[in-house]
Amino acid sequence: MITLNHYLIVSSALFALGLAGIIVRRNILVIYMCLEMMLSAANLALVAFSRFRVTDGLPDYSAQALVFFTITVAAAEVAVGLAIIVALYRSKQSVDVESVTKMQG
């Protein structure tokens, strides 16, 4: 029997993977992918919670609305983010995090 717990563990594992990726990877594009993974993990948790909180015989759709908005926002963020990363690449010919460490102090 698959319970809510199963989904939440998967979601947390996905979130942890995203977090770990941000810490480990140096390629900004890959880091950005990991961020998307974190958002998806949150979506999974939201959908799971909404499915297991059945009110009046139906899942709670307000949480699913939030998931929809999250996906949209993520798409918009990706668009802007990739534009910034492309601009960075054009000026530095690199997408390594070390190319953005000019400011220190």
């Binding site: 939440l8 979601s11 979130f15 995203g18 941000i22 900004i28 880091i31 950005y32 961020l35 974190m38 958002l39 993990a41 949150a42 979506n43 948790a45 939201l46 919670f49 909404s50 909180r53 709670d60 307000s62 949480a63 609305a65 939030l66 908005f69 999250t70 926002v73 918009a76 963020e77 802007v80 983010g81 910034i84 990363i85 601009a87 960075l88 000026s91 530095k92 953005v100 000019k102 400011m103 102090g105």
Partner: protein
């Protein structure tokens, strides 16, 4: 015009300004900026004329929209800072054009209006979905604004850093919302608050969500340990945008935090101790990590960034003191009061930086040396701003700090109050260092006199006067926060 329609109007105006700047590149940016300022001021007038009991909300926003004294104050706050940021943009137009790609900075005038709309919606939000969408509207706009002057490598770097960390914060924020939803079954502040009184609500689940949500919001308000991005982004972003981030973005984060803390702490004791402890720990770390590195900064922008962090610490302490009846009655709300004091002094400091930049001075401390000879007025304005940021009495900064410290003492948070005192003491050093630099420098140095237009002189002097007059006579600010008649709002700037 109702408040909501004035917000829609601002968003439309913002889009219109972007379009106009694209299709009519001949129209000078300055003109567009002043049109934007006029629009913001019109909205402000509309806000002042409206009352909190306004009922003419469209049905599709009404359930997600509150118009209490808090939201009115933060809406006014967003409008004022937007108008001032647009003014800063006109002041530093020359610099911005130099660093933009094709000498067009129309978007820089339009986007702040949309950000302002987002901030005003955040101020009214009653549920986490509105919070999330409006906050993302603000954040995504800021990604663009921070990286806008991308001919400057620093601005681009700042943009990338803000982007990566901001997106990470968004992820954490949504995950936190998910867990809070899981624990309480509700996405509205009222629903969360109500479910806390339900004995079957799982405390562990809720706390996990709260920690994540606080982490995500902590990023927006530059609270430790999520403050790492602040110095770099503040330094790299164009100065007007930095001012906007430092004041506007912070205020938005804090209105959300205020509502969250209210719904978690005040009505129930289920998680109140834990939430307050989290806030206090973060406040203590933020104050220390904000003020100690500030001592070693050589760039004024970075210094202001660290100062912004340490001010966030004070705000967090104020937040942890919410529910202290004496002081919530007192300042309307200490958090809002502190933000109200933070606005004029920060904008004043950034104004001086913008003008100095325009006249070929950079933003390092050495570049400000001898500013008093180039322009006694600018030096005096900066002195006022620094004195107020340091929290010297008879300036508005002191009142904010005093309120926070007294609220902390009243609640008996001695450890954090001790950190606050330490942080304020360190502040004496680094703010005074700026003041000293302004007035020192030998006579041999060439210093071209800096001319200011009459209008900017008037606005800047008004800001400085607001810093001092509100420091002596804070009653109007207090009235504005506690939702007194709109007439009292007029004096709040």
């Amino acid at each position: 015009m109702s408040i909501f329609s004035s917000e829609v109007f601002l968003a439309v105006l913002g889009i219109a300004l972007v379009l106009v700047s694209v299709f009519f590149p001949k129209i000078p940016t300055r003109t567009l900026a002043w049109i934007g300022i006029a629009g913001v001021l019109a909205s402000l007038a509309c806000l002042l004329g409206a009352s909190a009991a306004e009922t003419s909300l469209p049905a599709f926003v009404a359930p997600y929209y509150s118009l209490d004294s808090h939201s009115l104050f933060y809406k006014g706050f967003a409008l004022v800072i937007t108008a001032l940021v647009l003014w800063l943009i006109t002041e530093s137009e020359k610099t911005l054009v130099n660093y933009s790609l094709d000498g067009q900075i129309g978007e820089l005038v339009g986007l702040p209006l949309i950000v302002c709309t987002g901030m005003m919606w955040i101020a009214s939000a009653r549920d986490l979905i509105t919070v999330f969408t409006a906050l993302e509207l603000v954040t995504v706009s800021f990604y663009v604004l921070v990286a806008y002057t991308r001919k400057s490598a620093l601005s681009l770097e700042a943009g990338v850093k803000y982007l990566i960390l901001g997106a990470a914060a968004t992820g954490v924020l949504v995950y936190g919302i998910a867990w809070i939803y899981g624990a309480t079954g509700s996405l509205t502040f009222e629903g969360i608050s109500a479910s806390l009184r339900d004995p079957s609500t799982g405390k562990g689940t809720l706390l996990f969500g709260i920690v994540l949500l606080l982490a995500g919001l902590g990023f927006k308000v530059a609270a430790a340990p999520f403050h790492m991005w602040v110095p770099d982004v503040y330094q790299g972003a164009p100065a007007p945008v930095t001012a906007f981030l430092s004041v506007g973005s912070k205020a938005s984060g804090f209105i959300i935090l205020t509502r969250l803390v209210d719904s978690l702490v005040i009505s129930s004791t289920l998680v109140s101790v834990e939430v307050i402890n989290l806030l206090l720990i973060s406040a203590a770390i933020t104050m220390i990590l904000g003020s100690l590195p500030a001592i070693f900064q050589t760039s004024v922008k970075r210094l202001l960034a660290y100062s912004s962090i340490s001010h966030a610490g004070f705000l967090l302490l104020a937040l942890a003191c919410r529910g202290s009846t004496r002081f919530d009655l007192a300042a309307g709300d200490v958090v809002a009061f502190y933000l109200g004091t933070y606005l004029p002094m920060t904008v004043l400091a950034f104004f001086v930086l913008c003008v100095a930049r325009r006249h070929g001075r950079g933003d390092s401390l050495e570049d400000l040396r001898g500013l008093a000879r180039s322009s006694p007025l600018l030096a005096l304005l900066m002195t006022v701003a620094m004195a107020s940021l340091a929290g010297l009495p008879l300036t508005v900064g002191f009142l904010g700090k005093m309120m926070v410290l007294m609220a902390g003492v009243d609640r008996g948070y001695w450890g954090v109050v001790g950190c606050a005192v330490l942080s304020a003491a360190a502040g004496f050093y680094y703010y005074f260092r700026v003041i000293l630099t302004l007035y020192s420098g030998d006579n041999s140095q060439t210093s071209e006199p800096i001319q200011l237009s009459l209008l900017s002189r008037v606005i800047a002097i008004l800001l400085a006067a607001a810093v001092i007059i509100t420091g002596i006579y804070p009653r109007p600010l207090q009235r504005a926060i506690s939702g007194a008649p709109a007439a009292a709002l007029t004096t709040q700037r």
